[in-house]
């Protein structure tokens, strides 16, 4: 009985929290915008620092201003068909940061983050319902179809991609950095888009990596670059758990 009571209490508290943070579409109207952003600064900060993996300061760090701009953009673009607002804005912020890393010449090392299970406070509050999941899945499916069509232009099928993708964590992080550096170089991207193949020599010079590595994981690198440079793959890009790592890694 006691246990049951406890559960009841918990449910009540959660529901009250939901009510507190229940999202009102009116807040997105440009008159109320500044207030709304102000109230969600905590959300923006936590997301940004999670991706950058370090403590940020509002006055100093460029990443935070990027996130703010992205949040503002999310407010503009959001409509109800795109599911939960917080999920949506999180994706937008993440992609904006990834783009920022990509364009930033003195970018730091990037890694695929493996840590799971730390459910954010904000995630818990904005628990996504089935309907929203379905909408997200639909968006993702569309992206995947686009992606597979684009891969076919490079004569890559999902099968070959899966068979030739690295399993080891270090290799994956290495290749992610290679792909990031390549995605930043216009000349390499042009070469890739016109000739449908990787300019191995240039990549070796640019990334000072092994020729064998590039040739072996050619397919994986191409598909990573495609995901990173194409602004249409919002969900795919944000699903990849890309984080700023330490330079020494």
């Amino acid at each position: 009985m006691n246990l049951k009571l406890l559960f009841h209490k918990n449910k009540k508290t959660i529901s009250t929290l939901d009510e507190e943070l229940s999202f009102n579409i009116d807040a997105l109207i440009s008159e109320n915008r500044s207030n709304f952003i102000e109230s969600n600064k905590g959300f923006i900060y936590s997301n940004t620092s999670k991706i950058c993996k370090r403590h940020l300061i509002w006055e100093n760090d460029e990443e935070l201003s990027i996130s703010l701009m992205a949040f503002n953009m999310a407010c503009d673009k959001y409509d109800k068909t795109k599911g939960n607002f917080y999920g949506f804005s999180k994706i937008i912020i993440k992609n904006a940061l990834i783009d920022f890393f990509r364009k930033n010449k003195n970018s730091t090392n990037l890694i695929f983050d493996n840590s799971k299970g730390i459910v954010d406070y904000i995630d818990g509050k904005n628990s996504i319902n089935n309907f929203e999941i379905q909408i997200e899945n639909k968006f993702r499916a569309d992206e995947i179809n686009l992606f597979s069509e684009e891969l076919l232009k490079y004569k890559i099928s999902f099968e070959s991609l899966i068979n030739l993708s690295p399993a080891h964590k270090d290799t994956r992080n290495n290749l992610l950095n290679v792909a990031f550096l390549c995605a930043r170089e216009e000349s390499i991207l042009n070469h890739l888009k016109t000739k449908r193949r990787l300019p191995t020599k240039e990549i070796i010079i640019l990334t000072s990596s092994n020729r064998k590595l590039i040739e072996k994981w050619r397919i994986y690198i191409i598909s990573l670059i495609l995901i990173l440079i194409n602004p249409e793959y919002v969900y795919l890009k944000s699903y990849l758990n890309i984080k700023e790592g330490e330079l020494n890694d």
């Binding site: 493996n114 992206e143 999902f158 991609l161 899966i162």
Partner: protein
């Protein structure tokens, strides 16, 4: 390992996913069928499952191969046994199991209709035949009194040892006369054992054996290897043995090879109630048309045995070197049968 990621493509029983850590892997599809674009969780698809099919086919092929070769070996006759009156011929495989049987006269067919011999051991088969022959009244007191002899010819084309312990028991209990001829082609050995004791070991030649056992008075040509024939008479065969004495053959051998051996041994050894007379003649003597090796074993007892062994020296050179040991073997054998 359990992986979670966006489903990129779906194949028969696996789904290609992209995990949040940048891996592209296949996962097994369990109960829930995923759609492209969903976030799906599942067990990692094991690549070794690919080889599983091949391993299975290879294993089944191996199984078929092994079983067919075994069947081939099982159903290829190695030993042929001809039993006379009732005349029956049996074919046995290398494991001494009867694989086919045929009646050579009407009596034989009458017996074979009533008993099942297939896949029985030679020992059991012979025992069954004798039992059935008794039941059908082919073997009765008259048969015994007439001193009819059951002759058994064993031919083989492989080294083999045949155990006839229980057959011997039934022969003993019915006081039957029996002649066992073991012969083989290609200088292969056939051992006939009773209660795990060898009673006859030699390389036997098919052609000469018949002559040896049937036409005892005939001279045997030198290039044909002579093999011992063992006659086991479990009834009183006093008269017969005296006949056989008269019929001791002379064996002509013109083998030049063995001329150097110039020793001849005559041995008379006495056992309690038995006399073993054994003559080992050298090849020189053989070339002078003398007996190779004659052994007459007479045991005057309730049962009398007669063992006649004719050996060629070039076959069993051991016999020349160790005549004593072969004598011992014979004594053993005789004791065996006395029991």
């Amino acid at each position: 390992m359990i992986k979670k990621g966006i489903v990129m493509c779906i194949m028969n029983k696996k789904a290609g996913i992209m995990t949040d850590s940048g891996e592209f892997v296949y996962i097994k599809i369990s109960k829930v069928f995923p759609k492209v674009g969903e976030i799906h969780t599942g067990e990692l698809y094991n690549k070794s499952l690919f080889n599983y099919k091949y391993a299975l086919t290879a294993a089944s092929l191996m199984f078929i191969l092994i079983s067919s070769s075994f069947a081939q070996a099982y159903y290829s006759p190695v030993t042929t046994i001809v039993m006379s009156n009732p005349s029956v011929s049996l074919k046995a495989n290398r494991w001494n199991k009867i694989i086919s049987f045929k009646a050579l006269n009407s009596n034989g067919s009458l017996i074979l209709t009533n008993i099942k011999l297939k896949n029985k051991s030679i020992d059991d088969g012979l025992e069954l035949l004798v039992k059935e022959a008794k039941a059908e009244n082919f073997i009765n007191d008259e048969y015994v009194n007439d001193k009819k002899i059951i002759s058994i010819d064993i031919k083989g084309n492989k080294d083999n040892s045949i155990d006839i312990s229980s057959f011997k028991n039934i022969i003993d209990s019915n006081n039957l006369n029996i002649i066992i001829n073991a012969s083989s082609s290609n200088n292969k050995k056939i051992d006939i054992t009773v209660n795990n004791k060898k009673i006859d070991t030699s390389t036997l030649n098919r052609n000469s054996n018949k002559e040896a056992s049937t036409n005892k008075n005939k001279d045997i040509k030198k290039d044909i290897l002579k093999k011992p024939s063992v006659e086991i008479n479990t009834k009183k065969t006093e008269n017969k043995s005296s006949e056989n004495k008269d019929n001791d053959k002379t064996i002509k051998s013109k083998d030049n090879k063995n001329k150097e051996d110039g020793t001849s041994e005559d041995k008379n050894s006495n056992n309690n109630s038995s006399t073993i007379r054994r003559t080992i003649t050298s090849n020189e003597i053989k070339s002078n048309f003398q007996d190779n090796e004659n052994k007459n074993v007479k045991i005057s007892e309730n049962h009398s045995y007669e063992i006649e062994e004719k050996d060629n020296t070039d076959k069993n050179s051991d016999d020349n070197k160790h005549p004593q040991t072969s004598d011992n073997a014979f004594n053993k054998f005789i004791k065996d049968f006395n029991n």
